[in-house]
Point group: D2
Chain length 125, copies 4
């Protein structure tokens, strides 16, 4: 069981491969700095420049968010929630940080397995 690690697609020449990597990868969007003890938000979007299908036999089933080794949440989404069309799945979690976070997200595609985002460091003051 392998975990595919996203490392950018700029070095990838073939369009089909750029699409394949990008549409499976989770991307983290949140503030670079958060306030200690204050509710903040972390958005995870699967795909940045490309979109993944939402077919019954091929869809993004799960998104998980970690801070280092600590799980912040899992979202599990049945096929069809994105209307069975090609679209970027988004899930936004609320978090209350206590200290610097090293966020990383996982996305699971029912045909192409687990994909891990780049790490997003959040300073907490």
């Amino acid at each position: 069981m392998k975990i595919n690690q996203y490392t950018g697609i700029d070095h990838v020449d073939k369009e089909a491969k750029r699409d394949y990597i990008d549409r499976h990868s989770p991307f983290i969007y949140c503030d670079d700095t958060m306030e200690k003890g204050k509710k903040s938000f972390v958005k995870v979007v699967v795909g940045k420049e490309y979109s993944h299908p939402d077919d019954f036999d091929h869809y993004i089933h799960k998104v998980s968010l970690y801070d280092g080794e600590r799980l912040l949440g899992d979202a599990i989404i049945p096929a069809g929630t994105l209307g069975n069309q090609s679209e970027q799945l988004e899930v936004t979690f609320s978090v209350v940080p206590k200290r610097k976070m090293k966020l990383q997200a996982l996305a699971y595609c029912t045909k192409h397995g687990v994909w891990r985002s780049e790490e997003k460091v959040v300073d907490v003051k």
Copy 2:
């Protein structure tokens, strides 16, 4: 196994009971009208006027979103994600509607069971 149904707290006199009902209930926030086939967002917040603890032995563990009988997603959140302080858990799901939706959310508290939101009807054009 009972499901507690939220029906408003205006008729509730006792402050402790108002707090108890409100902080356990999920509330749905989204547009009243969405465009068919267009990605839209549904936010579920647990508590409106009051906040629930995020103690290890007493926290909101799960939020589920339904459209009628159809599950749109589950978010499962370990204790501590809200910094172990009293706070309103929020999860925002992306959805792509095909037709009129009748949204309802469930929240699960590890001490006080399952709570169901009021129904939120979304017209889809």
Copy 3:
């Protein structure tokens, strides 16, 4: 969002309806009496006399086990785990009881919603 409550099919005349109710309903199998503080097992099977399809657009996506209002566990299963054939999904959870339990299971079908089992009382000595 409605929860279908299983109450037996003996009173149901039509074969198609008997099948419909039975194959969606979770059934709990475990000892009638458990020992306090000792690991024991609770099996949940969806369907007793009939089997549910495991089609990509129509399958049992989730099984949940409750003791009264307390959640003991959720199992979330993607389509295809039962080989895309008609079969009874089974999940067995380990539990360590402290006191008398009132077990109830929920099953979620992606086309026909949430179904709740009968209550199974377990004496704990």
Copy 4:
């Protein structure tokens, strides 16, 4: 976010470290050979010679089972299901194999992160 890979504890001298590794690791128990198209069972147990606590702030929250890159199921278990005592969490999933499987399980501890089992190959005839 790191995934701890179990590789046996025979080479580990220190008792505390043997315990630490063993009690966090998921172990897979199932037949070496299964029949194609026939319902079979895969048991995942967290810990083999040692047991993990089931404290509210330190417990096994999730067990996942994969066949190669394909997710067969997630079980998410709140703290307290094992009676708040040191015990080995077990979850048994039903599967219907179509072809040779390469099973691997993940377990998530709320303090010590994600642990991956050794691979268990199942011949399917």
